[in-house]
């Protein structure tokens, strides 16, 4: 049997080492090596996806368990269910595109981009690892260790004078959350006696005898870390500054993949490890999600910088994801899981296109652009398509997930579903208004001679657009992979969910 997951973790890590070992003066080789390793990883992941048994997507597959630190009961344990597989595939699709999109970014760097690309590959290894880990300790190791490459990607290779501050802010927020989670991780071990996820969860699992109060505290410990990562209002403030100070490629991985670890963690760890504590947190989290949806959208409207604008739209989108997760209905959670994948594709594409604009004029300010569609119609057209995906236009992939989330939330309670629609309306405003200000209108003199989409750029963003359209028209393959895993979670939470739904309905009536 091929150890697919280990291969997918090791390959980019080896690539990072190779890049570091490369001689200084070989910029072109560095780029090609990085692209080669990321494509090879994509091939490995594709091979894994092909041998994935969709009919059994609800349980862990490709499992590998090797003892790592038996003294603490820690194993190197990896395995994927449908949700993890979808997220890993999304990550490994994004990485080569990021490398390709930033092809010429490194030309003026003294090290020819070696350092940056090595960090990208290192991060890829950790991204695969964090989604694949089935040992809580191993998950924590990846969760924390992946901060370091991103910290350097922002602080050292970022944009603008504020990048060091933004990098520190990002790192400290994430570390603070991670350290709180460390207490909960220790708690899981002390109370459960094992770190193996499969031994911990379920009826008769090691944590099933946990007292409700302890479960609540441990749930909270995990949740704080995931909420910061996701990011959820009011601990979202690091994201706009981090994204604003990032290279577009970094922002794609940061918002598209890293933040998903937060919502994935809620689904995988909060929900499944502590089903008894979930009901207690439903309404507070639903409330915070609604605030995130509206607050993120309103602030996105007010932004003058496109990178920050996209970051704020993500705060709003993550609100939808957490709302779907905590609605505790199968369609809500399926929608949330699908949303994670679609958001990665759509927001990734949006960041890449903003990156193309930055590569042309060195600025992400909306005020510096206008009338671009007159001279660069292909660029403007792609921008419009991915923008519309961002506002969940029917026919494009995000619509399916957003719709499922709404259905799920409505089943749970009508009030939050109605309130959340405000986010949809505002989404139209921030996306279309940005498009209008940058792409339409008179062309300022400063922009004359702006190049249209080059072949390389088209290859970088094209696959994402294709996927967005394909999954918009025919989302069934992804849903087939995701649904069984979601249903497993939902079954475990079924009794809790019912209890909460009753309670929630009463509360809703009171309102």
């Amino acid at each position: 049997m091929i150890p697919w997951l280990t291969l997918a973790i090791a390959l980019p890590a080896v690539g990072a080492l190779v890049l570091w070992a490369l001689p200084r003066a070989s910029a072109e080789t560095a780029k090609r090596t990085a692209l080669g390793f990321s494509l090879a990883t994509l091939l490995v992941a594709a091979g894994m996806a092909l041998s994935f048994d969709v009919s059994a997507a609800g349980r862990l597959q490709f499992e590998e368990v090797h003892p790592w630190i038996p003294y603490f009961g820690v194993n190197y344990a990896v395995g994927v269910d449908g949700i993890a597989l979808a997220l890993i595939l999304m990550s490994v699709v994004l990485v080569p595109l990021v490398v390709l999109a930033g092809w010429n970014e490194h030309d003026d760097r003294p090290d020819g981009g070696r350092g940056y690309l090595a960090l990208v590959l290192l991060l890829e290894a950790m991204m695969v690892g964090v989604f694949a880990a089935t040992d809580v300790f191993l998950f924590y190791v990846f969760f924390e260790a992946m901060l370091i490459p991103v910290y350097f990607m922002i602080g050292r290779y970022g944009r603008g004078d504020d990048r060091a501050r933004a990098a520190v802010k990002f790192l400290l927020y994430s570390l603070a959350g991670g350290l709180v989670m460390l207490v909960a991780v220790i708690g899981v071990y002390v109370y459960g006696g094992t770190f193996l996820w499969s031994d911990l969860v379920g009826e008769g699992g090691a944590l099933s005898a946990l007292s409700p109060e302890t479960a609540r505290w441990l749930f909270l410990g995990f949740f704080v870390a995931f909420a910061i990562k996701a990011p959820m209002w009011p601990v979202h403030t690091w994201l706009p500054s981090a994204a604003g100070a990032s290279r577009p490629g970094t922002a794609v991985l940061l918002v598209g993949v890293l933040d998903k670890v937060g919502t994935y963690g809620m689904l995988r760890y909060c929900m499944e490890l502590f089903p008894g504590a979930v009901s207690w947190f439903v309404w507070p989290v639903v409330g915070l999600s609604l605030v995130s949806i509206v607050y993120g959208a309103v602030l996105a409207i007010g932004q003058t910088d496109m990178m920050r604008l996209v970051a704020y739209t993500s705060v709003s989108h993550f609100g939808f994801i957490t709302l779907g997760i905590f609605a505790l209905t199968p369609s809500g959670q399926a929608g949330a899981a699908l949303y994670m994948v679609n958001h990665g594709l759509a927001t990734g594409a949006l960041f890449l296109i903003v990156g193309f604009l930055i590569a042309r004029r060195g600025t992400a300010l909306i005020a510096d652009y206008g009338g671009v569609q007159k001279i660069a119609p292909k660029l403007a057209g792609t921008f419009l398509v991915v923008g519309l995906a961002g506002l969940a236009l029917p026919g494009l992939a995000p619509f399916v997930s957003e719709f499922l989330v709404f259905v799920g939330v409505y089943e749970f309670n009508a009030v939050p579903a109605v309130l959340a629609t405000a986010g949809v309306v505002l989404a139209a405003l921030y996306i279309l208004w940005m498009y209008q200000r940058t792409m339409t209108g008179p062309l300022p003199d400063t922009l004359s001679g702006l190049r249209d989409l080059s072949g390389r750029e088209a290859w970088a963003v094209g696959p994402l657009v294709a996927l967005i359209i394909a999954f918009g028209l025919y989302p069934q393959p992804v849903l087939d992979v995701i649904n069984p895993a979601v249903e497993r979670t939902a079954e475990e939470n079924a009794s809790e969910a019912a209890a909460v739904a009753d309670g929630g309905a009463e509360e809703g009536d009171e309102e």
Binding site: W68, Y71, L147, Y151, A164, L172
Partner: protein, 553 residues
């Protein structure tokens, strides 16, 4: 302490007194005797070998420390699991003690590499410490190339104290070990070649405060003696468990015990540098010659924690309810106060000093856990931290002002170091990440070990305080990384002295230990304690040996 009372005069309740010479286990005493003999020999070298004895001194010291490490390893293989009493019961050796001794030997050996390093024919120590700084006489000595090879015997004597400190089995021996360890350190603190006044100030401060701490310790011993009627650990433990010596009825000796524990605790907590007894650390770490700072930050901390663990687990093991609240308070104060003060520091050595205080606080959480896991966690933490901190100070010795002058402490001048010397800055970056407890470094495993023990021991609030102050400490570690990697050099910036083989070796060892202990800690964890299966008895293994031995006697 060989009693000379005739056998027939011995009271029946004093079975330990005899006129026969005590049986000495030469084999188990060998590490101590080796260092002692080497120290004495080194003093003789100073007196009788003419100039050019530096190489000889270094070779002797290195050989002695290597021998100690070899002996400790050999003893580890042969020592019975319950340990053994040595030299009429004043010393006790078991796996835990051997671990501390071995760690001290290795870390001292690595520090010795830093101490022995020379740049342009000059080491880090004053040409002639007895001269007035800035005087003609001093200049003459510098021109003549005088040097203090006395440093090496001093190091050996300090190490002797450190080896004895955690092995002591009664309070008087422990006090002697404390002084043997401290006096050479006071001296060495004042020997810096550059900024000599600063260095002398540090030495005086350290000496005065250290003398106070020793006085507290001694006073505490008197109280405990009053309570238990003995200074022997096994007797004290028996007395604590039975409510005091025979003269006390109905627990009226309790205040004596509480005061004794408190005062002894002050002495020990001063040595580990816990708040509120930490004030010496930043000044002394900053003023002392950096190689000596490295020695103190690694070896002294290990030895002091070894003694502290022993005292709280063995003689006071039966009165947990007395010392636990005290250590809770001190641990919380240490973690919070030191982390907050450290944020305002601008000097690298002071920062590392405060960081050492915070780490002492983390290790105290494992002491509070009062369990075998806590003991093992503290042991792992100390070894891991020792290597990392040695590496960090080795980097500090290399970053100097423009013309290869003195070390640059001010952080602002470190700007852009990552561009000029990526390897050096990268190593320091790794050490800082280890201090901050990022996974895949030894610092994370250590932190996990002590916090896990503390949660299992019911000290969850302490761990929450610990992780929050960890987040604060991360801020200043990360700030150093920002300065080194994300900022452009200001003006001339610091120059990096070319790393000699020795300093380079220390840094390489630090990097290797930090990574290996971070990624593959199992082999090391397995050897910490004999059969330390989680959930074993909630007292140190040292207890078995002490009680068993006293029962036989």
């Amino acid at each position: 302490m060989i009693p000379l009372i005739p056998a027939e005069a011995v009271e029946p309740e004093l079975p330990g007194l005899t006129e026969a010479a005590p049986a000495l286990d030469w084999w188990l005493l060998a590490p101590l005797l080796t260092v002692f003999a080497a120290g004495v020999l080194a003093v003789l070298f100073e007196a009788f070998v003419p100039a050019g004895r530096r190489g000889l001194q270094i070779a002797l010291a290195a050989l002695a420390l290597l021998t100690v490490f070899g002996l400790v390893l050999a003893q580890m293989a042969t020592l019975p699991e319950e340990g053994a009493l040595l030299a009429a019961g004043v010393l006790a050796v078991d796996r835990t003690v051997l671990f501390f001794q071995g760690t001290v030997a290795v870390l001292a050996l690595v520090s010795l590499m830093l101490i022995a390093e020379r740049r342009d024919g000059r080491d880090a120590f004053a040409a002639q410490a007895a001269t007035v700084p800035g005087s003609e006489e001093e200049r003459a000595h510098i021109m003549a190339g005088s040097q203090h090879t006395e440093v090496y015997p001093l190091v050996l004597f300090a190490v002797l104290g450190m080896l004895m400190f955690p092995a002591s089995n009664d309070f008087l021996t422990m006090f002697i070990a404390l002084e043997v360890m401290s006096l050479p350190l006071y001296l060495m603190c004042g020997l810096a070649r550059r900024r000599r006044l600063f260095s002398q100030e540090a030495a005086v401060k350290y000496f005065l405060l250290g003398a106070f701490a020793s006085a507290f310790f001694l006073f505490g011993i008197a109280m405990v003696y009053g309570y238990a009627g003995s200074v022997d650990f096994a007797d004290i433990r028996a007395a604590v468990e039975s409510g005091g010596a025979a003269v006390f009825a109905g627990g009226e000796g309790e205040p004596l015990l509480v005061m004794g524990i408190g005062l002894v605790g002050v002495g020990l907590l001063f040595k580990v540098g816990a708040v509120p007894f930490h004030n010496w650390k930043p000044d002394v770490y900053q003023g002392a010659p950096t190689p000596i700072t490295a020695l103190m930050a690694s070896c002294t901390l290990v030895a002091a924690f070894g003694a502290l663990l022993r005292v709280f687990f063995v003689p006071f093991g039966g009165s947990v309810q007395v010392w636990e609240p005290m250590l809770w308070t001190v641990a919380i104060l240490t973690m919070v106060a030191a982390a907050i003060i450290a944020v305002t520091q601008r000097d690298v050595k002071r920062l590392l000093a405060y960081s050492s205080v915070v780490h002492a606080g983390f290790i105290l959480t494992a002491v509070v856990a009062n369990s075998v896991e806590g003991l093992a966690g503290a042991m792992f933490y100390l070894a891991a931290y020792g290597f990392t901190t040695l590496g960090a100070f080795a980097v500090v010795t290399l970053v100097r002002t423009k013309d290869g002058g003195q070390e640059v402490g001010d952080l602002d001048q470190w700007a852009g170091l990552g561009r000029r010397s990526p390897l050096l800055a990268g190593s320091l970056g790794l050490f800082l990440l280890a201090f901050a407890g990022i996974p895949l470094t030894s610092g994370f495993i250590g932190k996990f070990a002590v916090f896990e023990a503390a949660v299992a021991g019911g000290a969850t609030p302490l761990v929450v305080v610990g992780v929050l102050s960890s987040a604060v400490t991360a801020f200043f570690y990360v700030r150093i990384i920002v300065v080194m990697f994300f900022r452009d050099p200001e003006g001339e910036g610091p120059t990096v002295a070319p790393a000699g083989v020795l300093t380079g070796g220390v840094i390489a060892l630090g990097v290797a230990a930090t990574l290996v202990l971070g990624v593959f800690p199992q082999a090391f964890l397995d050897r910490l304690l004999p059969g330390a299966e989680p959930g074993a008895e909630p007292v140190s293994v040292t207890v078995h040996q002490v009680t068993a031995a006293s029962g036989e006697g």
